[in-house]
């Protein structure tokens, strides 16, 4: 049988992982099924819902539309890598305080998008937050609280 897997090195939350994967494995499935930090969620597998949002080299990326091989040699940050030494990221803390989620399934993606949204300088007003967070669906309908959380966290990050 022909060899169907290739070695793939992934740098996830500062940890180096060596995997032997088929080239068609997405970053999302590599994370969830092979490496098992399952905080990154699969909602649609088609780049339509945003639940799988992670950071690659600091930019938000949909892990379901990214092959694991494409992320080789780049710094991947997932929801598990946001807190530093047990200290919640300001966005995480604001999500809890503002009750910016219910079922929690879109939350990892929302938080990863929110961190990037603030970093990109797109949290200047509520309308701007709504626009730049519009790629992350939340069927529980936590949107007004997500806006409040991003607004609060943006002020904290700035100060």
């Amino acid at each position: 049988m022909t060899k169907t897997t290739i070695p793939i090195h992934l740098d996830i939350n500062g940890q180096h992982h060596e995997l032997q994967l088929e080239p068609r494995v997405t970053l999302l499935d590599a994370l969830r099924d092979r490496l098992a930090p399952t905080g990154t969620k699969k909602g649609c597998d088609h780049g339509q819902c945003g639940a799988c949002t992670v950071h690659v080299d600091g930019e938000r990326v949909l892990a379901c539309l990214t092959l694991a091989a494409q992320a080789q040699g780049r710094a991947i940050t997932t929801i598990e890598g946001l807190a530093r030494e047990g200290e919640l990221h300001p966005v995480q803390a604001a999500f809890l305080e503002q009750d910016a989620f219910q079922c929690g399934y879109c939350t990892s993606g929302q938080i990863m998008s929110a961190v990037a949204c603030i970093r990109e300088g797109h949290a200047g007003s509520d309308d701007e937050i709504r626009e730049y967070m519009a790629g992350n669906l939340c069927r529980c309908g936590a949107y007004p609280h997500i806006v409040a959380a991003v607004r609060q966290a943006a002020l904290e990050v700035a100060s």
Partner: protein, 764 residues
């Protein structure tokens, strides 16, 4: 009850941790750090991956399934077809009706809808299963399908006599009424679309089946799996620690679950099967498409003389779903004459299912649009006409309301919204090229009640543990049960650990119909009271207890410490007391079942819905109520509608945690905005497919679609509805949103849209 004085954002004089306080979600830290493991995220040794194939025709037969290429593909373990999958027994329905004695096959030969599961491929990896599934060739003998309600072959359907409600002589009173309005209102297929797709991991160990599956009803689903496989109920364990949204869609074990459990049994390995997002649009039923006509006869002052209502909803060829369309019509307004009847029509669709406020939601779209039309017809303010027809008692059951703060909701909402500043004429308010419209509508949802049980343990370190097989899909069960146990026992909420989502725990009925909070706070309150009584009893009576010499009648527990109410004698932590009397823990089971209940009664209560208490039982009629005030802005040239302001006042009785209840209310309102403006399953007329079966084409609201939303609680404790005084929260708020928006659109544009969703082509 004990009142704590710990930190927290106090509300209504209640600390955050007590029942009624604004405690943040106790499951929140796990969800914001990614630590919360959802059902299909369990890592199991030897896990195999299954992928489903669904029919591409809506009616006919599978002629042949060629699995040769798929079976030869790398990593493939098994290809399941109707001919090769093991045979199951038919399970009872959710009422517990004994099933017909015939085999059940979760993969179909005879096709009754597009998207029906016809085969499954199991492989070593997910990618291998997906690739091999593409190699399976299914051929069909196709027959003509009835694609939806508007299909010429659909017919008038089957009358559902149980839905008929009549009093007075509605037809005659309508015919002779001085003012008459009559119109047809339609709602399309809508989908729950929870962010977490349906799926499961099934594992057999001998004749023991463990299923990790997102579930709104562990005990009901365990019953179904047990009946399918002919094993005892105790042999099936359902595990569902977190649920990524349900909205009605995750209450029943469905055929994909049977396929996964069959595959696991046939392979002797645990199997994971997760539906694709596309498959979730046909793997279970969304809200049925509905048609209603509402005829209102009134006097010239707008007082209703008669309501004649006719409704139709679609169901599948081989299943029965009734969406009760006369539910709100028959109770919202006082009328001396009333008639409501309903038919269901069979179409080639998956059997529709429960979606947030099934029945009440489309029902309210009919009656709350119709009364708005009547308001314009007689020239009365839409809010005033609702007050003029206010039902002082349940017009159908002829019973007093347990509580009905709807008048208060209208008043509070109107005040906050500024309704008095509304210009009455349509097209009379504008901002540049945007037409502005203000609409109002009411909503309601019955208080569904059942029984529950729970265990409360006071552990040696003074912490408290609660166990229940109920679930938290975001409503806040973990949090309010922690608050209930904390307040009842007298310990800080952060020392309470609530364990849910395992069918081995004390049982709970379905999490649906907004009943769980009322049921489970009652059960936990009883169990916690019993545990506290035991603790105090031991402290007084055990010779080793430092309180023994005090000869007190009772003791108080507050903030995790136990002392005499007089302040004399010792003051110990619970841990110190338990150590002194040599107890490892104290445990109490509590349930709200009638005292003489048999084991059979209990099984029936927890695994079927047959024992739910009618909301009109006894002397009272029990409902939650709400009033929505909504502003829309309609672009005059393009017909695009934006919701720009929402103020809703809601009566859910006592709120166990206002912070979380407000979130659920807003979520319901947002789903209602989607229903009003975006959501519609579009049927391909040739093959009966849902063509927009994905999240890019079936539009749900995004953050950019939603303005700030203000919710106001006007409820008061309702002890006829639940042990602690709450009524339903989760379903209420969506009811009435769509008609409020349709009414606002009419006010903005002068165009009445009676066919959801209100898309731009209907306005230009």
């Amino acid at each position: 009850m004990t009142v704590h004085t710990r930190h927290g954002d106090a509300s209504d004089g209640v600390t955050a941790e007590a029942v009624g306080g604004r405690l943040s979600r106790v499951d929140g830290p796990a969800k914001i750090t990614g630590a919360a493991k959802y059902a299909v995220e369990q890592q199991l040794e030897g896990l195999a991956y299954a992928v489903l194939l669904e029919s591409t025709i809506a009616s006919g037969k599978v002629r042949a399934i060629d699995t040769t290429a798929a079976e030869a593909a790398p990593g493939v373990l098994k290809v399941l077809t109707p001919d090769t999958i093991i045979s199951l027994r038919t399970a009872s329905d959710w009422f517990g009706t004994p099933p017909p004695d015939k085999p059940y096959c979760p993969l179909a030969h005879d096709i009754t809808f597009s998207g029906q599961h016809v085969a499954a491929v199991v492989a070593e990896t997910f990618e291998q299963a997906v690739a091999a599934a593409a190699l399976v060739k299914v051929s069909y003998d196709e027959t003509p399908a009835i694609v939806d309600l508007s299909d010429g072959k659909a017919g008038d359907g089957i009358p559902i006599d149980a839905m008929t409600k009549e009093w007075g002589d509605a037809q005659a009173a309508f015919a002779s009424a001085p003012v008459r309005v009559c119109a047809a209102y339609n709602t399309p297929r809508e989908y729950q679309a929870p962010m977490e797709p349906h799926g499961l991991i099934a594992r057999w160990e001998g004749d023991q089946l463990t299923v990790w599956e997102p579930s709104q009803w562990l005990d009901g689903m365990a019953r179904t799996y047990a009946e399918w496989f002919g094993v005892s109920f105790e042999n099936v364990r359902l595990v569902s620690p977190y649920i990524g949204g349900g909205f009605g869609s995750k209450a029943l074990a469905l055929s994909h679950g049977a396929v996964a459990a069959c595959a696991a049994k046939m392979l002797g390995r645990p199997v994971r099967l997760v539906m694709t997002r596309q498959q979730t649009f046909t793997g279970y039923g969304g809200r049925a498409a509905t048609r209603q006509t509402v005829a209102l006869g009134a006097d010239r002052d707008g007082r209703i003389q008669s309501i004649v209502h006719r409704g139709v909803n679609e169901t599948s060829m081989d299943g029965m779903w009734v969406e009760p369309l006369g539910s709100v019509t028959s109770i919202m307004y006082a009328t001396p004459n009333f008639s409501s009847k309903q038919n269901v029509v069979r179409v080639n669709s998956v059997v529709p299912g429960a979606m947030r406020a099934p029945g009440e939601n489309p029902s309210a779209f009919g009656i709350e649009s119709a009364i708005d039309e009547l308001a314009y017809e007689v020239g009365i303010d839409p809010l005033e006409i609702r007050l003029r027809n206010y039902a002082e008692q349940d017009p159908h059951a002829k019973k007093a309301w347990s509580t009905r703060q709807l008048r208060e909701a209208f008043a509070a909402g109107a005040e906050r919204f500024g309704w008095a500043r509304r210009a009455p004429e349509p097209r009379s308010m504008r901002d540049g090229n945007q037409l502005i419209g203000w609409g109002v509508a009411a909503g309601t949802y019955p208080v569904r009640r059942a029984y529950g049980e729970a265990i409360v343990r006071i552990l040696s370190d003074g912490s408290v543990e609660v166990e229940s097989s109920s679930i938290d899909m975001g409503q806040g069960t973990y949090t309010i049960l922690a608050q209930t146990a904390a307040e009842t026992v007298g310990v800080p909420a952060d020392t309470v650990v609530v364990k849910l989502g395992d069918s081995r725990f004390p049982r709970a009925g379905v999490t649906g119909g907004s009943r769980l909070a009322g049921v489970m706070t009652g059960a936990v309150y009883k169990a916690a009271t019993s545990a506290l009584d035991q603790l105090i009893g031991l402290a007084i009576s055990d010779p080793r207890s430092p309180f023994h010499a005090l000869q007190a009648n009772t003791l108080v527990v507050a903030n995790g410490r136990i002392a005499s109410p007089r302040g004399d004698g010792p003051d110990l932590s619970i841990a110190e007391l338990l150590a002194s009397i040599g107890r490892d823990h104290i445990e109490a089971t509590g349930d709200t079942m009638p005292a003489n209940s048999t084991a059979q009664d209990r099984y029936k209560n927890y695994t079927t819905i047959a024992m739910s208490l009618p909301h009109t039982e006894g002397d009272y009629s029990r409902y939650s109520w709400c009033a929505h005030f909504i502003e829309v802005r309609v672009d005059e040239d393009f017909g695009t509608v934006r919701v720009s302001r929402v103020v809703s006042a809601l009566d859910s009785g006592r709120l166990y945690n206002p912070k979380l209840a407000e979130s659920q209310w807003k979520g319901g309102i947002i789903m209602g905005i989607g229903q009003a403006l975006l959501e519609e399953g579009i049927v391909d007329r040739r093959h009966g497919r849902i063509v927009n079966n994905n999240l890019a084409d079936y539009l749900v609201p995004t953050n950019a679609d939603i303005p700030d939303i203000e919710v106001i609680s006007v409820g008061i404790p309702d002890l006829h509805s639940s042990v602690l005084g709450g009524k339903g929260v989760g379903e209420l708020a969506i009811v009435g949103v769509a008609p409020a928006i349709a009414n606002a659109v009419f006010h903005a544009t002068g165009k009445r849209v009676r066919d959801l969703p209100i898309t731009l082509e209907k306005l230009i």
